[in-house]
């Protein structure tokens, strides 16, 4: 018995030792700031003078702030288009690149490339691609007979689609790799059995592939929704929230309120609302997963 206890204690010690670096980092860089931000959301603080407790006034102000409303709607718009588009592209390319063709690894690497390149550099390049007069995109559009192509980042209507398209291009490679991993794990006999039963290509995809990769799909949906709620860099570089407030998203608004206007309390309140949004969406998804996610394997 005593022998057992010592072993357990020793193992625990070892476990804590291995966990410690990560936990220290988590507590210092994540937990404390999060709690701090939550407390700040009830205060007014300009970073110089002492913070003043103001109760819920920041939250009341939020409801009257048209800038916040616009940013929230823009974020929802961005998420609603970006997430399905990314998943469709990622899955389609995963299916194509899952074949055992020659040189396929190179193609996989190429599609993963946008994900590993710096978002800042990428956004600057896309800014040029979208240039209304000299940008390659509009040059091509003009060549194929579109006389007045969209003015992309300088048009209120097209600025957001421009940001969305770039973000999809940037991130689908990452999710594609996850899907490929999911596809590789599907036992080949399932397809063989389906084939014998007379299932065509679409049916095999619908009734074998999709259910089998549903855990991957679930993961991808959650991660991509969270990351699209957090969209910032591409907006910051490409449009600065403009023209007007057409591409102002929540995190951009939080950034400007905190680090341009020095309203840290107010910005923290906005961040708390963003957190609640992400939390609700994620809870709904966890609840819903029982209906469509298949863990049988």
């Amino acid at each position: 018995m005593t022998q057992n206890k010592t072993i357990i204690r020793r193992n625990r010690m070892k476990a804590y030792a291995f966990l410690a670096p990560n936990f220290v980092g988590f507590i210092v860089f994540t937990l404390i700031p999060v709690v701090y931000a939550f407390l700040l959301s009830f205060m007014e603080w300009d970073s110089a003078r002492p913070a003043v407790f103001v109760g819920l006034s920041n939250y009341f102000k939020l409801f009257k702030d048209t800038g916040f409303r616009i940013s929230l709607l823009n974020t929802l718009y961005y998420t609603a288009i970006t997430v399905p588009l990314t998943i469709v592209f990622a899955l389609a390319f995963a299916l194509i690149l899952n074949e055992g063709l020659k040189g396929i690894k190179l193609f996989r690497a190429l599609h993963f490339f946008p994900h590993i390149s710096s978002i800042v550099a990428v956004a600057v390049v896309w800014q040029f691609l979208y240039h209304p007069d000299f940008g390659p995109i509009n040059m091509v559009l003009k060549q194929i007979g579109i006389a007045n192509p969209p003015r992309w980042t300088s048009s209120v209507t097209w600025a957001m689609p421009a940001v969305i398209f770039m973000s999809v291009w940037k991130s689908f490679g990452y999710y594609m790799i996850m899907f490929i991993a999911g596809l590789k794990a599907i036992p080949i006999q399932l397809y063989e059995a389906a084939k014998i039963d007379g299932a065509n290509g679409w049916k095999r995809f619908r009734y074998v592939t999709l259910p089998m990769i549903s855990p991957t799909m679930f993961f991808v949906v959650i991660i991509s929704i969270i990351s699209s709620f957090k969209v910032f860099a591409q907006v910051f570089i490409m449009t600065e929230g403009g023209p007007g407030r057409a591409t102002s998203v929540l995190v951009y608004k939080i950034y400007t309120d905190a680090f341009k206007n020095f309203k840290f309390g107010y910005a923290s309140a906005e961040a708390v609302i963003l957190f609640i949004f992400i939390l609700i969406v994620t809870i709904i998804q966890y609840r819903g997963q029982e209906k469509w996610v298949n863990y049988m394997n």
């Binding site: 970073s47 102000k61 209304p132 048009s155 007007g244």
Partner: protein, 434 residues
């Protein structure tokens, strides 16, 4: 064996953590002992674009003349200056003195108690504030003087004589109206595609688009009626989108065009910009860029009517004394030097407009061999309106005004709608920041 290994792991971990703590303490201790040994007083001085500012010789001279004083320059890029400085001050960084880049930030430093009023120093040293002229008013908040103005910049019209000569058009004079400006821009425009020559260049800053409104003397952008902006926006939109005698806003914005670069290429006729640009153009000439390529001069800003007194917009950059400074007396001496006559003369040699202006300084300025002979009239501008008043709402409103102007010049919103929206958004900002 395993036990030993895990113990070792724990120990190294603890040691490394403890090491971190010790290291930083040790670092502090050693730097403070260093200070004691040297006896030198170090004044930490934050400014933007040190390398291009031409201030280096002035600072070196000060160090040479004042033994025991070291000036530690904290160089911040112009674009990030306001934000970065605010964060450093908030973070408790030791900065003894710094330049205030835009006067609208000054109010913030005062309310955050980050700068000291200078009245007692000014009285004790019997500083004559007359040479600073009206710039003293801009550093006066609640009857206290916060900072000594170091440079003042106002906007004027730069033009490329070569372009005017080529088309046989008279150089701009002080009588030029905005309608004349539009007409001249049209006449100077020729060609198509990449070799096109433009009559003028209109930069992407909001101030470029609202200064015509401020010239109307209908109040500032915090409390004035935004209707004042209407004529200016119509004019600039017409020049860009109808006459096409200037590259349009969207192109400039997405190409990240730089106004000076556009002029230096020699295919742009006119540019209205601040006096800070003179020193750069002068430097170019001193580096041997020939007049054939780019031959510049300056005229006063165009106005709305012919007989209107010249009016333009501008700003003042004061030098401030940080509340947290440990060497306030020494820092004050340094501020007095840089913002006083000595500093002003140095600036004049660089063709930078100092805030301190007396006859000696002005002579140094216009006698500069790189200053265009016919440009003197531009310096006699009578009325200088502040771009943004020193008000806590200025930064918030300036972002809003910028957004709405952007919508107008990219053709996303009509001018009247934008003005109406600016009014309602101002009400909202006032309401939200009571």
């Amino acid at each position: 064996m395993k036990k030993l290994l895990s113990l070792l792991l724990v120990i190294t971990l603890l040691l490394s953590l403890a090491g971190c703590g010790k290291n930083s303490e040790g670092g502090q201790a050693s730097s403070s002992t260093k200070k004691d040994q040297q006896e030198d007083i170090t004044i930490r001085f934050a400014l933007w674009d040190y390398e291009n500012s031409g201030l280096q010789p002035l600072i070196e001279r000060y160090e040479a003349e004042n033994e025991g004083i070291k000036i530690d320059v904290l160089d911040i890029s112009a674009k990030e200056y306001g934000d970065k400085l605010a964060i450093m001050l908030a973070g408790g960084e030791t900065i003894d003195t710094f330049f205030c880049k835009t006067i609208s930030d000054l109010g913030g430093y005062v309310t955050k108690e980050q700068i000291d009023p200078l009245d007692t120093y000014i009285e004790a040293d019997k500083i004559d504030t007359v040479p600073y002229g009206a710039t003293m008013d801009t550093v006066n908040i609640d009857d206290k003087i916060y900072g000594l103005p170091y440079r003042k910049d106002f906007w004027l019209l730069f033009y490329n004589k070569n372009m005017f000569d080529k088309h046989g058009i008279d150089y701009p004079t002080k009588d030029m109206t905005w309608d004349d400006y539009r007409e001249v821009a049209k006449q100077l425009t020729s060609g198509e595609g990449p070799t096109k020559e433009y009559g003028t260049y209109i930069h992407t800053w909001a101030s470029v688009y609202f200064l015509q409104g401020l010239q109307k003397n209908m109040g500032d952008l915090v409390s004035g009626d935004y209707v004042m902006l209407k004529d200016g926006l119509e004019l600039l939109k017409g020049i860009q989108l109808e006459d096409k005698s200037a590259q349009d806003y969207a192109t400039n914005k997405s190409m990240g065009s730089h106004y000076a670069g556009m002029m230096e290429k020699g295919n742009v006729g006119m540019l209205y910009m601040g006096t800070w640009q003179m020193s750069q153009f002068a430097k170019m000439k001193s580096q041997g860029i020939s007049d054939e390529q780019y031959n510049w001069s300056v005229a006063p800003m165009p106005t709305w009517t012919k007989d209107e007194a010249e009016a333009t917009i501008g700003g003042v950059s004061p030098m401030l004394l940080s509340t947290t400074s440990k060497h306030k007396e020494e820092t004050w001496e340094f501020i007095k030097f840089v913002s006083g006559e000595e500093g002003a003369k140095h600036l004049a040699d660089l063709l930078i407009m100092p805030a301190f202006i007396n006859e000696a300084v002005m002579d140094r300025f216009v006698q500069n061999e790189y200053f265009p002979e016919d440009g003197k009239i531009a310096l006699e501008t009578e009325h200088i309106f502040m771009e943004w008043p020193s008000d806590k709402l200025s930064p918030l409103l300036s972002k809003m005004v910028d957004e709405e102007i952007q919508l107008v010049v990219t053709g996303n919103k009509s001018i009247d709608d934008a003005i109406a929206d600016m009014e309602s958004r101002r009400d909202e900002i006032i309401e939200q920041n009571k």
